[in-house]
Symmetry: C2
Subunit: 213 residues, 2 copies
């Protein structure tokens, strides 16, 4: 981001155009498969402007990834830290917020998971992932409800795997699932909207303390 001689709308526009194009192409193809020329073409700008505004492909990628990660965890954080809602309500709010976000941006999970597998240290270094979960209002409630025997005994990480698996996995496997079920994009999304209602019910059943021996 070069120093500006004066605030200028065109500068902001070009920079923003590049970011929008970069986000789209990176999300679709991942870091290694995207060419800076793809981004320049999509943005309708000269190739050199990418390096002029962002120095390198990698620096541009880092910015996009940081923003994408924020999208991915922001809705989660607000749900987890609402002191005023019950555990059951949090599950409902999370499922709804997440699935609606994933319907809008279905490439995000595979994008993040893929990059995370190939460069775990780089991506996870900044993220204080542990505190995110274990120091939340949700975590306190979870422990309390367990002590009151209102929910079954289950490590919080297993619970997290379950709710993420049920909500996020279909978007990771969407090409396979669409093929198996012969689904269009809209039909797939309809199934996902159905899951907004069902997943909290299923989670309740799983967490029912009386159902387990």
């Amino acid at each position: 981001m070069p120093k500006r001689y004066s605030p200028d709308k065109k500068d902001i526009n070009t920079e923003e155009k590049i970011k929008i194009a970069a986000r789209s192409v990176f999300h679709k193809k991942g870091f290694v498969a995207t060419r800076t020329r793809d981004i320049a073409l999509e943005a309708g700008i000269n190739l050199a402007l990418l390096n002029y505004y962002f120095r390198s492909k990698e620096k541009l990628f880092d910015i996009i990834m940081a923003e994408t990660l924020h999208t991915f965890v922001a809705s989660l954080i607000s749900v987890l830290n609402d002191e005023s809602t019950s555990l059951q309500h949090k599950v409902e709010a999370f499922t709804k917020a997440y699935i609606e976000m994933l319907i809008r941006e279905p490439e995000i999970p595979i994008f993040i998971m893929s990059e995370m597998h190939h460069h775990p240290d780089k991506l996870l270094a900044r993220l204080n992932a542990k505190a995110l979960l274990f120091e939340s209002a949700f975590a306190k409630q979870y422990v309390q409800e367990f002590e009151k025997k209102n929910i079954a005994a289950m490590p919080m990480l297993q619970f997290l795997m379950n709710i993420l698996g049920l909500t996020v996995f279909p978007f990771v496997a969407s090409p396979l699932l669409k093929k198996i079920g012969n689904l269009s994009g809209n039909e797939f999304n309809a199934l996902m909207k159905e899951r907004i209602k069902r997943i909290p019910e299923w989670i309740s059943l799983i967490m029912n303390p009386d159902a387990h021996p």
Copy 2:
């Protein structure tokens, strides 16, 4: 695979060495990120031998992918088509077979899902994914049990999303989950082994016809 002047152990060894190395590198880095030189180095062979035996990087990749897909669905097929076992038993057998396979080869899910997202047509063209599920012994039983009201009403595809989400997703998200839970590889695997027992229980609870209004 050039015609052989005579059956020769060294030939087979070189070809096999390349395939083993290719499988390892492709699984770890995906198609675009792996260089043929990586494979040659890992196999301890001259770079040109890769093209000599397999013509191109892509042809080699296609072979590896076909084998990997087979690994991924083979254990599934045998479970789904065993006429002699109950639905409940099939869930148990599937979970056990799949999680044990994924502990051995944890990169397979992200490898397949990632390539599938980037080239869905190429990968899914051959796979008769629909018949795989809907024409199985499992499918017949599923419909029967539903008609007898022994299981809750749930589209088979939702059921598939649930069981795959619960079993496979943790391996897709493993870098994130390890970071959140501060887990070593062995600790992560221990959690997965625990899930072999738990997932069938959870599925039973979800499918209980009396639990739903």
